[in-house]
């Protein structure tokens, strides 16, 4: 079958109103679901899954993909407006998005988040269509040693989000690494810091920690000084994201999309590290470096490009290998199987119409996202105008519901509260929260992959340097560490 035939076959599958309607519905559900903290893109996809059982395969899958993509963008709305990431992937967006909202530029930040998301989405979808086979076979070269080297490199992001003091950033990261050791040991299954509580055996819930660290300290700070916000403009105002803004950040958006595509095509990393990596790369190369973390629009663009760039690329291992790249695609793979479709190399031969139908749907989804997103921004705009002393109790209640809903566990609400106080103490002591979060995500991956490598090699550390991919990341890590050290020393305020 030639390309044109395949395209025609695909078009005949999706060339009906129903398929596009499902995609559109999915995006709407996703944006709303993503915008509700705790519900998150993952939950939204899981909740939509049962509805797809009775649909035609292509419609069901497009619905789920719509939810996925909408959810990843939707998460940035509460991240910007109320400093609560709607989905873990949007935690990097807080760093600059929320300060912008505080400055009365929520509209500009949201606009940029949308445009960056759509651009990255389009780049990601194109990479999926053009390079799926190639990227997938590359991803299959990633065993534990390669992961270890990649994650070690990713940890250097911490320097980029540490803010004014590298030492305090490192302190924050270590706290995150330590907290992530709670739970059952991977290799031996023994208890680590669980204190015999079954709720802690699974480790602390990531979303509870995330929301506790970012949203709750705001509420506590409100109790400390309820009138601190008065006199500051918070209203959405007339601020809009202009073409100049977009073009100014275009390089970061494209770079972020590439990072997203790369990390998305490797199973097991996910969107949050990608957003942070894209953010720290943008900061490193930007001429407005000093303004990052204080409301720099390029930071918002980079983070959103980083997380949406993942959304299309996670389908690469899914379609080409049948391997889910993250939790969300693991759910989506369920939808394939229910319909008797078995993702993998054979699917490109047996079900080529579905593959091309998906491709067509994906390309359209970027455009739909732009439409749905602009409506959503207008819809959620009012949040910025709610008096803050009524908004904050509302945020608290929303967080309680949301964090409970993640795992149907009241214990997680407690984790969120405790982390809230930890976050508040960190805030008062000028310790940045972002390194904590990155370390909390990457720490277990680093440890697990290290130990898996050791198991593979019978404890021979040389396996960590086993091939070109590992060498590449070791080199990258060395260069980055060198650059960080040099720039800190140069600032004449060493290590502070």
């Amino acid at each position: 079958m030639s390309l044109m035939d395949s395209l025609a076959a695909g078009l005949s599958l999706v060339g009906n109103v129903e398929a596009f309607f499902m995609l559109f519905c999915g995006l709407v559900i996703g944006v709303i679901g993503g915008a509700i903290p705790g519900l998150s893109a993952t939950m939204a996809v899981a909740l939509t899954l049962p509805f797809t059982f009775s649909m035609a395969p292509i419609n069901g899958i497009l619905l789920l993909l719509g939810v996925y993509k909408g959810g990843i963008f939707g998460g940035s709305i509460p991240a910007i407006l109320i400093k609560t990431p709607g989905t873990p992937a949007s935690s990097a967006t807080i760093l600059d998005g929320h300060p912008m909202a505080e400055r009365g530029e929520a509209g500009r930040a949201l606009g940029m988040a949308l445009y960056a998301s759509c651009t990255a989405d389009a780049v990601s979808n194109l990479s999926l269509i053009l390079f799926a086979g190639w990227l997938a076979s590359f991803a299959l070269n990633f065993g534990p040693p390669e992961f270890f080297a990649l994650i070690l490199f990713s940890l250097t992001i911490i320097a980029g989000v540490s803010g004014e003091s590298l030492l305090r950033g490192a302190l924050s990261a270590l706290a995150g690494l330590l907290l992530a050791t709670v739970g059952l040991d991977l290799v031996y299954g023994t208890n680590r810091f669980t204190f015999g509580d079954p709720n802690m055996m699974g480790g602390l819930n990531f979303i509870a920690v995330l929301i506790g660290l970012f949203a709750i300290p705001e509420i506590i700070a409100m109790a400390w000084n309820p009138v601190a916000h008065l006199g500051r403009t918070r209203a959405l105002g007339k601020s809009k994201c202009t073409l100049a803004d977009y073009l100014g950040s275009f390089k970061s958006i494209i770079r972020g999309s590439m990072i997203g595509v790369f990390l998305g095509s490797i199973p097991g990393i996910g969107a949050a590290p990608s957003a942070f990596l894209s953010y720290s790369e943008a900061r490193r190369t930007s001429k407005n470096k000093a303004n990052f973390g204080k409301g720099e629009i390029e930071g918002v663009a980079a983070s959103e490009a980083g997380n949406n760039g993942v959304a299309g690329a996670t389908l690469i291992p899914l379609l080409a290998l049948g391997v889910p790249g993250d939790v969300i695609t693991a759910i989506i793979i369920g939808a394939f199987m229910v319909h008797g479709l078995q993702p993998g190399p054979m699917m490109f031969i047996l079900n080529v119409d579905i593959i091309y139908g998906l491709f067509i749907g994906l390309i359209v989804s970027s455009v739909f996202l732009l439409l749905v997103g602009s409506v959503a921004i207008r819809g959620f705009k009012f949040v910025a105008d709610v008096p803050k002393r009524i908004l904050m109790p509302g945020v608290l209640v929303l967080c309680i519901y949301g964090v409970y809903a993640v795992n149907n566990n009241i214990f997680d609400v407690g984790v969120m509260f405790v982390m809230g106080w930890v976050g508040y103490i960190m805030m008062r002591n000028r310790i940045p929260a972002a390194p904590f979060l990155i370390a909390f995500i990457l720490g277990p991956l680093l440890e697990d992959n290290f130990r898996q490598s050791m198991l593979m090699s019978g404890s021979d550390p040389l396996i960590l340097f086993r091939g070109p991919i590992t060498w590449f990341f070791w080199l990258l890590t060395a260069i980055t560490v060198f650059a960080i050290t040099r720039s800190t020393l140069r600032k004449r305020v060493p290590l502070s």
Binding site: N191, A223, P226, G394, V397, I410, V413, F417, R430
Partner: protein, 166 residues
């Protein structure tokens, strides 16, 4: 507050915490089976590495506290003498109590009623200028969220032992 005093405080705390981890917490709360073949595979290895790094950072913070030029106060610091004296501390404590009560109330009263009380309590703790609106919101917001989570998203929101919602 200057960087010197902040880093001194953090440094002392971090170093002591690292000691606490190495001497007490890790041996007591991390379990390793007796048949671990290699020390680097032991469940204890990573926690000890982290504890060691914590100690290094603690010492680093202490060292940076004693370097010249650290004794400059932060620019964006709010004044140390708070105009309200002890009131902020009382409010913090009150918020802490609210959170503890929420944890106590969730399984017993149910999430909706607890959330209503928490909303109202917080709004008044923050001395809102719109008390009526706050009360109305305190009732409506948890109910709306309940309707959404329980009936749209299908989440089993805790109902408590007293009044059940449909």
């Amino acid at each position: 507050m200057s960087e010197k005093s902040l880093h001194l405080r953090l440094g002392i705390f971090t170093s002591l915490f690292a000691l606490f981890l190495v001497l007490f917490a890790i041996p007591t709360f991390v379990f390793a089976p007796s048949n671990v073949g290699n020390i680097i595979l032991s469940p204890l290895f990573w926690p000890y590495v982290l504890a060691g790094l914590t100690g290094v950072i603690g010492l680093g913070l202490l060292a940076s506290a004693f370097k010249p030029g650290a004794n400059v106060p932060f620019e964006d610091e709010e004044g140390t003498a708070h105009p309200e004296r002890a009131a902020p501390w009382l409010r913090l404590a009150a918020l802490g109590v609210i959170m503890v009560l929420v944890m106590f109330g969730l399984p017993r009263l149910g999430m909706v009623w607890t959330a209503m009380l928490a909303f109202a309590a917080c709004a008044f703790l923050f001395r809102t200028r719109h008390p009526i609106v706050a009360l109305v919101c305190a009732v409506i917001v948890p109910l709306l969220l309940y309707a959404f989570f329980a009936h749209v998203a299908g989440v089993a929101i805790p109902q408590g032992n007293f009044v059940r919602l449909p």
